[in-house]
């Protein structure tokens, strides 16, 4: 089966529909599928629900899909960097479902593993628990959280082989593996596609069974908070 596509638009061809649920990898602007997001903007698909830890910034990442009003609802843990997001949310134009960060990651992982729900103590006694089943285990309260089963996953990796085996780089791994796992179809954009056999089988972070389409491209990889220290004088 051919998994390698020539462009992000080609890789998404036939996969997009209005009202669909998309799981996106990335943390802040680190390890985000920036090329696939741009291609979704171009496609014009609308009323999307997007599960992603963050919502990009105004002019980069998922912020672009917010600017074009293609997103109806976000499932996120932290959206503090995006002024347009805040405006749309406070005016009621955008739905927002806050998920604790670990709960969001586990909901994706669970969905990818065929697990429809799990109990966690995260959020017990807070707003997050409202309307959710509470169950006691060994005298302690836990709340029921649902697995996420997405229509489409979009992720960013460092390297892939043509069978879809993925390797991530440093903290750009973040939400990408669980996001990839929970979609019916997963499209991965990578910095480099290497020949079959070039990746060490013991060092593959996500096996190709989870990855259906791959596209290679140039990434801007924007830095959100550039922090440095001074060199000590010799």
């Amino acid at each position: 089966m051919k998994k390698v596509y020539g462009s992000a638009s080609e890789a998404l061809d036939g996969l997009l529909s209005d009202g669909m649920l998309i799981a996106a990898g990335g943390f802040g602007l680190c390890g985000i599928p920036e090329l696939l997001i741009d291609a979704i903007v171009e496609s014009g698909v609308k009323d999307l629900t997007v599960a992603s830890n963050n919502a990009g910034v105004d002019d980069f990442g998922l912020g672009k899909l917010l600017a074009t009003r293609q997103i109806k609802k976000m499932m996120s843990s932290y959206v503090g960097e995006n002024a347009e997001f805040m405006r749309q949310y406070l005016s009621g134009e955008l739905e927002l479902e806050f998920n604790p960060q670990g709960t969001l990651a586990e909901r994706m992982r669970a969905g990818g593993c065929g697990i429809p729900g799990f109990y966690t103590k995260t959020g017990v006694g807070t707003m997050i628990a409202e309307g959710k089943e509470v169950k006691q285990f060994d005298g302690e309260d836990f709340i029921l959280e649902r697995g996420i089963f997405a229509d489409l996953s979009i992720v960013k990796a460092w390297k892939a082989d043509d069978t879809g085996n993925l390797v991530f780089r440093k903290t750009a791994r973040n939400f990408n593996p669980p996001a990839a796992m929970c979609g019916k179809v997963c499209v991965a954009e990578v910095e480099e596609i290497v020949p079959r056999g070039a990746l060490d089988p013991d060092a593959i972070h996500l096996p190709g069974i989870y990855v259906h389409r791959i596209v290679q491209g140039d990434h801007e990889k924007r830095i959100e908070q550039r922090t440095t220290r001074k060199r000590e004088e010799a």
């Binding site: 960060q101 709960t103 903290t171 939400f175």
Partner: protein, 207 residues
């Protein structure tokens, strides 16, 4: 004299024990890393890293290497990387010995509020709810009062909660308090601050 930000961070660093895996929040908690001295402490960053190093030298920033505050950082020779589900597995699973984090309000029963001001500030809880529910010990570092001079150490939180009954110890500019049966117990006062000063600045019950 009440403690300044660095003195609060230095005091918080005394809480950490050799061999611990620790998660530090944004703000004053980040400064705690500067005061751990010779102790063997491994810092976790919940976006997927154990063994977080200092900020990079200028020109050596790597967009693929950031902490949970989205700041560029560096790795150490002990560092490991993993995905977010694994990261919160170790947090939820109680493998992280302690979290040091900031707060908007803390109540005498250990309730914590630090993620939302309804109608004003809607950023999200990030990993805070998972951390306070999962780690071994929760230590809050914050100013004792807000800018209007009102106590942030309360009988009951007024803001949406991050967790219920989760805080073990509070380190403020005035001193150190523990959450105990019936209220808060003063453990230590900052130099020149008296227990009466702390009582006067605190709405919560002090036992």
């Amino acid at each position: 004299m009440p403690w300044d930000r660095n003195q609060m961070a230095a005091r918080a660093a005394q809480e950490l024990e050799d061999g611990w895996y620790v998660n530090l929040g944004i703000g004053i908690p980040t400064l705690v890393a500067n005061y751990v001295g010779d102790k063997d402490i491994t810092l976790q960053s919940e976006n997927g890293m154990l063994g977080m190093g200092p900020f990079p030298y200028e020109g050596e920033e790597d967009p693929d290497l950031i902490n949970a505050g989205k700041q560029t950082i560096t790795e150490l020779n002990r560092t490991s990387y993993f995905d977010s589900a694994t990261s919160f597995g170790m947090i939820r699973g109680g493998k992280i010995a302690a979290a040091i984090l900031g707060a908007m309000e803390v109540a005498e029963n250990g309730d914590l509020a630090n993620w939302m001001i309804p109608g004003k500030l809607v950023k999200g809880m990030g990993g805070a709810m998972d951390l306070v529910a999962g780690v071994g010990r929760v230590i809050v570092v914050m100013d004792h009062q807000n800018k209007a001079g009102e106590s942030k150490v309360l009988k009951a939180c007024t803001l949406p909660l991050t967790g219920t009954g989760v805080v073990d110890r509070i380190i403020t500019n005035l001193g150190v308090l523990d959450v105990v049966e019936g209220g808060l117990k003063i453990v230590e006062t900052a130099d020149g601050v008296t227990e009466d000063d702390i009582r006067a600045a605190t709405e919560a019950t002090i036992v």
